[in-house]
Symmetry: C2
Subunit: 266 residues, 2 copies
């Protein structure tokens, strides 16, 4: 084996495998996976998979649900995830604003931080009695299919938007997804004037989002707030109202971050 592996020379392979296993369980149905499924998907023998699973069980990263047994994500991940998310400064700062917006609007409110032009949602508050959207946290999302992503793009110069678009390729998610760079730039230009970005069924059919970006002390975009609802519940006047509320919430976050809002930009 003289060829160059995709893994660095310093990668501990067993650990990387364990993480691949956890990702596989996370993406599998909630009932969990069997040992044989693990050995198949991981391309390793059953006995090797058994050792790996046992290690994860002992550490509470997995737990065995009888009968089967089927393996599911364990409480150690709840523990670590709670600590990790609490230590994101943005989360603490924005939590009360999310709660207030959720009460005011009756919608699901989320906050994303920026990762190289892409949104990573780090918290979510579901309104009581509202539709629950199963949107993941902690994942780098596509920038062009969510309102939060477009609000973040709108804070960047057009050249940067084009670079990011070329990088991720603007894949289609629904029939309304913007898949061409000029259309994306046009949409962003409107968002800059309006003060908030809109996702009109561009990520999921029937789902509508409104988002506004906030900025830190550098004047750089630090993230975005978004409100998510079912499209049929949102007439035009309601969308404008939501836009103003989200915009106001984002400005408040900007203030708490010691930042300065930009003129004529989201």
């Amino acid at each position: 084996m003289t060829d160059e592996d995709p893994v660095s020379r310093y990668t501990v392979r067993s650990v990387a495998k364990a993480f691949r296993l956890l990702s596989m369980v996370a993406e599998a149905p909630a009932e969990g996976v069997t040992l044989s499924e693990v050995s198949q998907h991981m391309g390793m023998s059953k006995s090797a998979a058994y050792g790996l699973v046992r290690t994860l069980l002992d550490a509470d990263y997995l737990y065995a649900r009888e009968p089967g047994p089927r393996y599911c994500l364990g409480t150690a991940l709840v523990w670590l995830g709670d600590i990790a998310s609490r230590r994101l400064p943005l989360r603490d700062i924005t939590a009360p604003i999310l709660a207030r917006l959720s009460q005011q609007t009756g919608l699901t409110i989320r906050v994303a931080r920026v990762d190289d032009g892409h949104p990573v949602f780090i918290n979510r508050v579901d309104a009581v009695g509202a539709v629950r959207f199963h949107t993941p946290l902690g994942v780098r999302e596509l920038p062009h299919t969510s309102a939060a992503g477009k609000a973040i793009l709108a804070a960047l110069p057009d050249a940067e938007v084009e670079r990011i678009a070329a990088e991720c390729g603007l894949p289609r998610r629904t029939r309304k997804t913007i898949t061409e760079v000029p259309a994306l730039l046009a949409d962003i230009t409107v968002a800059r004037r309006r003060g908030y970005a809109i996702d009109d069924e561009e990520d999921f059919e029937g789902v509508f989002c409104v988002a506004a970006a906030f900025f830190d002390h550098d004047g750089g975009c630090a993230g975005a707030l978004s409100a998510t609802g079912i499209k049929v519940d949102l007439p035009a006047w309601r969308i404008e109202e939501l836009g103003r509320m989200v915009r106001a919430g984002a400005d408040e976050v900007t203030g708490l971050l010691g930042g300065r809002p930009r003129d004529r930009e989201v």
Copy 2:
């Protein structure tokens, strides 16, 4: 090496080390840890620690905060923790009740599930503007120092309580912690009559908790709801009111679980 290790023959050692490292970072200050600290605390060479850290960085289980660099828990853990906690059925069922109780009381409301007589908190809703308590999720807690723990114990027969008490040894946390089995049984007996359990500065100085258990279709205790506040803010009449509200919330959870509430028990 013919001696019996504490780890099973099937334990993948590198993976266990990676988990120990994550636990270490989780218990360290929020600013993160340096590579040298890792190699020291883990008892391994710097180069080995470097390989491990690089692996965790590549998988987003850690991220490097400049300068230093200092290593902190990464967004992959936020992702996995979010999925793991969403898949706990109790969490979805109780979420709206937590939110309502939090609004009604202005306190932090938590829900714990039962793990062999011990409470494991799986969700928490902080009231807006209230004091934030940094209580971890997903950890097996001591049963005798929290209101939720005592509410769970109150649902068990005395013999079982004595077994659990012998197992964990009733360690002291504050000067008010109950450290003797007879006193614990007496406290639990009162809780059974009253319908809710109380933690009066037995876990943290100045912190007061009220909790009530809920039950599943077997009639077994499935967990408990608790309300947490600063002691000076809670006169006696307020505590009684809180107890009734938490009790009512727990009964509601019991109903949603298809369970039946017990007579004269928490």
